[in-house]
Symmetry: C2
Subunit: 351 residues, 2 copies
């Protein structure tokens, strides 16, 4: 059932035409990667840049390394402990820029609104966008607003794009991890995903935990100061959590990664919620946490720089890079298990 | 019922909290302007730049005038004669950049997909995005994909953002129109809106008319060559059509505008459809048509440059700028009527 695509003249994908998009295609895991690799990128054809895909792209212009990024937010509920869809949209795009060591210069924001949304909800979200942008030190320079009929969208989607400029002396990329690199994490994992899930489903965990959403660019600036070009890879842990980020980096860098389970910073409320819900915290989404892959000689200096910031106060070293192999977790009893990429959808509409 | 906004400390809007978003808030007309001025901009607060709002914003960086823009596309149907949602998304953002005399450097694309969308539809749209970007000569450098549950979106929304660089020697802005300026239009109006409406409702007009969607940046480059700084204002005629564009320019430039009805290029199928449907072609959406406000001494040269391009082959002069007053249309019999801004929603989900 391969059909030649009239726009590209190629027939890259053997999927039958009856196949449909699943929730898991938006998980940030393996199905997402398949959708991108087999449908979206082949569609782009010559319009797509070469090299591994990243959440933000470097565009060199007149001697400056500019960085561009975009994110669509569809989180349900719109408001939750620690943030809302507007805050997430600003932080997510600022953080995607920061993962390329870029400081934000300007943001754009687009709203897709369902007819009937209380104006007050839109006002709250717009105020959150504004407050988050001011706090991050970046202007929102233009935008777009569309309204669709009742039932054609679920209340409100917010889509941001960001322009940033890369700090001199840094070039982190998903493909940059090297054998021997230390794997550092900036703080506790799982708070955002558990908060959103619990708020949506009324599970009650949200009394003890709040989203970790925050901008990470100032943390990154300090890390660049301390590590420079020894900062090989930065990745914020969003959809698909730590596990998906590590697997994407391992694949892009063609390396193996080994993590110490006992070193993973999992807050007690997250651990309790994950146990009750049968979730692995390594797959739960975050919005204010990053992993860094750092040359071994610079790891202590970078870790110290991270710990001196509010965003990285609880930073720890969690593992090491091997020259090949899967992403492994060494458990407290010394056994190893593979930490695979999320296959489908664990927690839909978490961001 | 004014409430102090905790994020901004201000209480700018007397709308009751029970007020809800209407379809007309997305029309590009007066209700859209109210939503932006009373809800979205006050929310942004200090994060918003000063000055009149434009579809694309200039960001000066290291001596270069960069331009940023974003657009959300929710058109229904996804596919229609002359284009589809992917083509529109690319052209729309390229054109928003072009209206600031910027040539596109890079695009981003975000998809919000409803669970259950045929993969084949997504593949077609992605191929359209790619083909349109290649044809416009701009790479798509990064993106994002979200999937929401069945019923939480209507099939597919596409959101693009664009980075461009302004051509030297040009600075068109919505606030730049001056008394005496000639008003030029690049081609026929109404094709896109009538095509989409007719396809969606099965009215049959789409047999005789197709969307005019096309990139306008090469036309603009030729206009800049011919007119330079005499090119005071450029605006593509999208949602709300010619009437809304003229009213926005009149308001931003604090001028009056007078248009000759007999000079308006309305194709016969559009005229026929508008008569049957009770629509005014001046309010119908376009996706490949611009108006230019040009200093009188340069108008003939700019018009000649426009006519020498495929996109502007049917360009004509349609009016003149006055120092004050409303937007007026002089009819064939010599009377004048006010061409007001669209109040609510004429044709929902046209782009």
């Amino acid at each position: 059932m391969t059909a030649v695509d009239p726009a590209t003249g190629t027939c890259p994908v053997p999927l039958p035409e009856t196949e449909r998009v699943l929730l898991g295609h938006g998980s940030g895991g393996r199905l997402s990667a398949e959708l991108i690799d087999e449908v979206l990128l082949p569609g782009l054809g010559a319009a797509a840049p070469g090299g591994p895909l990243e959440d933000a792209a470097v565009v060199t212009l007149a001697g400056s390394d500019l960085v561009l990024s975009t994110d669509a937010y569809v989180v349900d509920p719109l408001f939750f402990p620690g943030g809302d869809i507007g805050v997430l949209a600003v932080h997510g795009t600022v953080n995607d820029l920061a993962m390329r060591a870029a400081m934000p210069i300007a943001l754009t924001v687009a709203y897709i609104v369902e007819e009937g949304l209380p104006i007050e909800d839109l006002r709250r979200v717009a105020a959150s966008v504004g407050a988050a942008a001011v706090a991050a030190g970046v202007p929102v320079v233009t935008g777009d607003t569309k309204v669709v009929g009742k039932g054609a969208a679920d209340r409100l989607f917010v889509i941001t794009a960001g322009l940033g400029r890369r700090l001199p002396g840094a070039a982190p990329t998903a493909a940059g991890a090297r054998p021997g690199d230390a794997v550092l994490i900036s703080g506790p994992i799982g708070c955002h995903g558990i908060t959103v899930l619990s708020t949506r489903e009324g599970l009650g965990f949200e009394a003890d935990v709040a989203s970790d959403t925050r901008p990470l660019h100032r943390l990154v600036a300090d890390m660049v100061d301390a590590g420079g070009l020894n900062l090989h890879t930065l990745r914020d842990l969003t959809r698909g959590g730590l596990a998906s980020a590590l697997n994407e980096i391992a694949a892009a860098s063609k390396v193996g990664i080994e993590i110490e389970e006992s070193a993973l910073p999992v807050p007690e409320p997250v651990r309790a919620a994950c146990e009750m819900l049968g979730l692995d915290p390594a797959y739960v989404a975050n919005e204010g946490c990053l992993v860094a892959f750092v040359a071994p000689g610079a790891a202590e200096a970078v870790l110290a720089a991270m710990r001196s910031t509010p965003e990285g106060a609880e930073a720890v070293r969690i593992g090491v890079v091997h020259d090949h192999g899967p992403v492994l977790v060494r458990t407290a009893v010394g056994s190893r298990r593979v930490l695979d990429m999320l296959l489908g959808e664990q927690l839909p509409r978490i961001c």
